[in-house]
């Protein structure tokens, strides 16, 4: 017998990261160096438009995945759920691509013109999305939220001299991340309460107006409760002395060692090599 799936398990669709401490080589890299290398590879993926070079970047990422000791299923889950969309976009690109059509023509019908160049574009697109998905999963499963935040704070701290409130901004990011599961559960509870009062939930049918009407009773209490929670949180932060003295210290200390420098230099050279070669 197939089990009843509950339509109220909102947590199921929550984008959680599967971080856990693994003591892998990658987790020993200083957060700033790690984040910078992430940006370097992200930019390379976006700039390179050559199949072999994208395959090379993908290979580097896969080596990273192996070193990271993160189980394969973590990567697969994110990747497989996005795969249909990637394929649809690729298919649309093949059919409706208006870029220069060159190479062998396979089909020509009215304005539709499918050539080998279209396939090349589609393959680049698939590779690019795949590389990006895997890179993001790799970073989110290797870098804890706290190290991510610490790294970002250190990376952007020069902006303090331009009077940018870096600490406040980073704390806002941290709290937002922390609120995702809380608000998901709140929404779930509200949906259940509405359903016990006769609301039809989860059918996904009906006109747009009907669906907006269905969501409104969910949004109002969710909004009100979020405001209440934000207020309570602010009160608790104040009570624990947030902002009472200017020289706040940090629990996390990270040291940028020569090994981190070496790692960063290697990443940079690798990226320059790949982009330059292309």
């Amino acid at each position: 017998m197939k089990k009843h799936m509950s339509e109220f398990e909102f947590m199921r669709s929550m984008p959680f990261t599967e971080f856990s401490p693994r003591n892998s080589l990658l987790q020993r890299i200083e957060p700033r160096a790690f984040l910078l290398s992430f940006f370097i590879f992200l930019i390379s993926i976006l700039f390179v438009a050559d199949i072999s070079m994208l395959v090379a970047i993908l290979a580097v990422i896969i080596i990273g995945m192996v070193i990271s000791q993160v189980p394969l299923r973590v990567f697969l889950r994110g990747f497989l759920s996005a795969l249909p969309f990637i394929l649809i976009i690729a298919a649309i690109n093949i059919v409706f691509n208006t870029a220069v059509d060159s190479g062998t023509t396979y089909l020509k019908w009215r304005s539709i013109h499918i050539s080998s160049a279209d396939f090349r574009v589609a393959i680049i697109l698939i590779l690019r999305f795949t590389a990006m998905m895997l890179l993001i999963s790799l970073v989110s499963s290797t870098l804890s939220t706290s190290r991510f935040i610490h790294g970002m704070e250190r990376l952007f701290s020069p902006l303090k001299y331009l009077k940018v409130p870096v600490l406040e901004f980073i704390i806002a990011v941290e709290i937002s991340i922390r609120f995702i599961p809380i608000l998901t559960l709140t929404a779930e509870r509200i949906a259940k309460a509405q359903a016990s009062r006769g609301a039809v939930w989860g059918s996904g049918s009906g006109s747009l107006i009907a669906r907006v009407k269905q969501v409104a009773p969910l949004l109002v209490p969710l909004f009100v409760q979020s405001l209440h929670k934000a207020e309570a949180l602010a009160m608790a932060m104040d009570a624990r002395g947030f902002g009472v003295i200017p020289d706040r210290t940090s629990y996390i200390r990270s040291k940028f060692t020569w090994q981190d420098g070496l790692y960063l230099a290697a990443c940079l050279l690798l990226a320059i090599g790949i982009i330059g070669f292309a």
């Binding site: 939220t145 706290s146 009062r197 006769g198 009570a239």
Partner: protein, 565 residues
């Protein structure tokens, strides 16, 4: 020399409130010495939380002054020392945790006060070890259990080593186990010489303190020992307070019986007195329920939440439940034992993964079952239902259910009927803004919004949790009336007095398994078992137990004497 905390005639009004009506705090004058343990009581809106926030300068008085160790809270330069001396624990533990891992959250306050790196790490380790969280320090806070979350919230405050800790209704959202942990912490901190201020609605918790302060409409109306407050000389109802459960029973006995002495302080002494008088007012009731039509039957129910995700948890393992037509049935067990999950199966929010659930003519395993039809037969009032209100006016809120399912009679008639049934006057309340209702009125409106579908069966999940004593009394009256009218009810609660007042039969859940079902009088008088679940038996059953035990001992002693002679 000023006292540790000195409050000099402060008045305060929230800027958005109408100044003409009344003050939130009105000329409050009180001093608190180091090391005191004080309970602060009063109805919702009496100014308790506002007063607490004055003490650690989260709010500043409009007039008058607050001094902490002689430091004026109105001077900004005193803020760091005041916040370091006065810690505050709030109502909902999850709303006091900001950081992504446990150890960082404990460090949050220390970072704010500029602690040095090594000292900070040593302190975090010390406090996490004490709170039994050290092994979990790297965990993200959202993966903690309820009890761990609550210990973490406390750890974050204790890390700063404040001299005084204010618990602002910190126990009201907790289950009995959680309450016990927090109360034990308070006692320990008090023994270490910390000053404890405990804002609470629980009279039993207030008994733990050495001094009680009662607020009413922004003024202090009582300041003294808890025994004095509950001596029976004060009109507690006027202040929206109640008696601790045992005390209430003693006062009932005193008022209902000739010669029951005033100076009897506890149930033990009462049992002795009855034994000496050779009389006892209570017997065990044994009447069987008349109906034999089974309204609810649950058989070997199993349920796993979020199967195949990191959040996966087994909520029900093997639950059996039978409820007869017109019966009211209690569910008891610790948090996480599966009470809410079971209730949500009974009105189709959850469907059986394994096992079966039948309610009336509905088979919950039937895929074609319409939930809209089912919820008109079984109504569920969820925990703290009023937070889910989404309409502006009470009448519209109550009309939502009948409007959505499309009832045949005029909507206004249905709303009027539902409001009357819960004791809200239709004309007076239908156009009231939901946000202006009192706690008890909100809970009644929430109940009306469910019974507006005219269900035959009513499911109540912690129906009195979070209410102040006055609201508690009002809503219990409504339930008792409905029960007398023969509504089938399934009630989950941590409050055994409520369960005993409402339910004929009780089922005990333990780790997702129904381990015992029986008459409320029998199940709830098993003191050892209840205490294992951190539940307190109803006072009347405690007295009956005590009396029977003492009587049996007395009989054995007499027999022994006779045999000797």
């Amino acid at each position: 020399m000023r006292e540790f905390i000195q409050i000099d005639g402060i008045s305060f009004n929230y800027p958005d409130l109408n100044q003409e009506t009344r003050k939130t705090l009105d000329q409050i004058r009180i001093t608190i010495a180091k090391g005191e343990y004080i309970a602060i009581l009063g109805a919702n809106g009496s100014g308790k939380s506002t007063l607490a926030k004055m003490i650690n300068a989260l709010l500043l008085p409009d007039s008058g002054a607050v001094y902490i160790s002689g430091l004026d809270t109105r001077k900004p330069e005193n803020l760091p020392s005041i916040r370091m001396k006065i810690g505050m624990v709030f109502q909902s533990p999850e709303e006091q945790i900001f950081s992504s891992t446990i150890e960082e959250d404990v460090a949050f306050g220390l970072e704010n006060f500029g602690w040095e790196y090594e000292k900070m790490h040593a302190r975090v380790k010390e406090i996490l070890t004490r709170m039994d969280l050290w092994e979990l320090r790297q965990r993200p806070s959202y993966l903690l259990s309820g009890g761990q979350t609550q210990r973490l919230a406390l750890a974050g405050v204790l890390a700063i080593q404040p001299d005084c800790i204010i618990f602002d209704e910190a126990t009201s959202m907790l289950d009995p186990m959680g309450r016990k942990v927090v109360l034990r912490q308070m006692r320990q901190l008090h023994e270490q010489g910390k000053t404890i201020l405990h804002i609470t609605h629980s009279m039993d918790e207030a008994m733990e303190a050495n001094r009680v302060v009662v607020l009413q409409v922004g003024q202090i109306v009582f300041d003294g020992k808890p025994e004095e407050l509950f001596s029976g000389d004060y009109d507690l109802e006027k202040w929206n307070l109640a008696y601790p459960a045992d005390k209430k029973l003693l006062i009932e006995l005193r008022n209902g019986m000739d010669g029951f002495p005033r100076d009897i302080k506890n149930l033990d002494e009462a049992a002795d007195w009855f034994l000496k008088k050779n009389t006892f007012p209570y017997g065990m009731d044994d009447e069987e329920s008349q109906a034999d039509r089974e309204e609810i039957s649950v058989f070997q129910l199993r349920h796993v939440y979020l199967e195949g995700t990191p959040y996966q948890s087994r909520a029900l393992l093997d639950v059996n439940l039978n409820v007869k037509d017109g019966e009211s049935h209690g569910l008891i067990g610790v948090t996480g034992s599966g009470k809410s999950t079971l209730l949500q199966h009974l009105n189709g929010l959850l469907r059986p993964q394994e096992g079966s659930v039948r309610v009336g003519k509905f088979d919950l395993s039937d895929r074609k079952l319409s939930r809209q039809e089912l919820v008109q037969y079984v109504g569920l009032v969820m925990q703290n239902p009023e937070v889910q209100f989404f309409e502006e006016y009470a009448g519209d809120e109550i009309a939502y259910g009948p409007k959505t399912v499309g009832v045949t009679e005029p909507l206004a008639d249905r709303v009027r009927w539902a409001m009357t049934r819960v004791g809200l006057d239709f004309e007076e309340f239908k156009d009231r803004r939901v946000s202006t209702l009192s706690g008890g009125e909100k809970r009644k409106a929430a109940l009306a919004s469910v019974i507006a579908l005219k269900p035959e069966v009513l499911l109540l999940d912690e129906p009195t949790a979070g209410l102040d004593p006055a609201a508690h009394k009002q809503i219990m009256q409504v339930f008792e009336e409905m029960q007398a009218e023969g509504t089938t009810m399934v009630v989950s609660s941590h409050n055994m007095q409520d369960i005993y007042a409402l339910c004929k039969n009780v089922t005990v859940l333990d780790h997702g398994t129904s381990v015992e079902t029986g008459r409320a009088g029998n199940v709830l008088s098993n003191q050892a078992k209840l205490e294992g679940m951190q539940l307190v038996p109803p006072s009347k059953l405690k007295l009956i137990n005590l009396y029977q035990k003492k009587r049996a001992a007395e009989l054995i002693r007499r027999e022994g004497e006779e045999a000797y002679e």
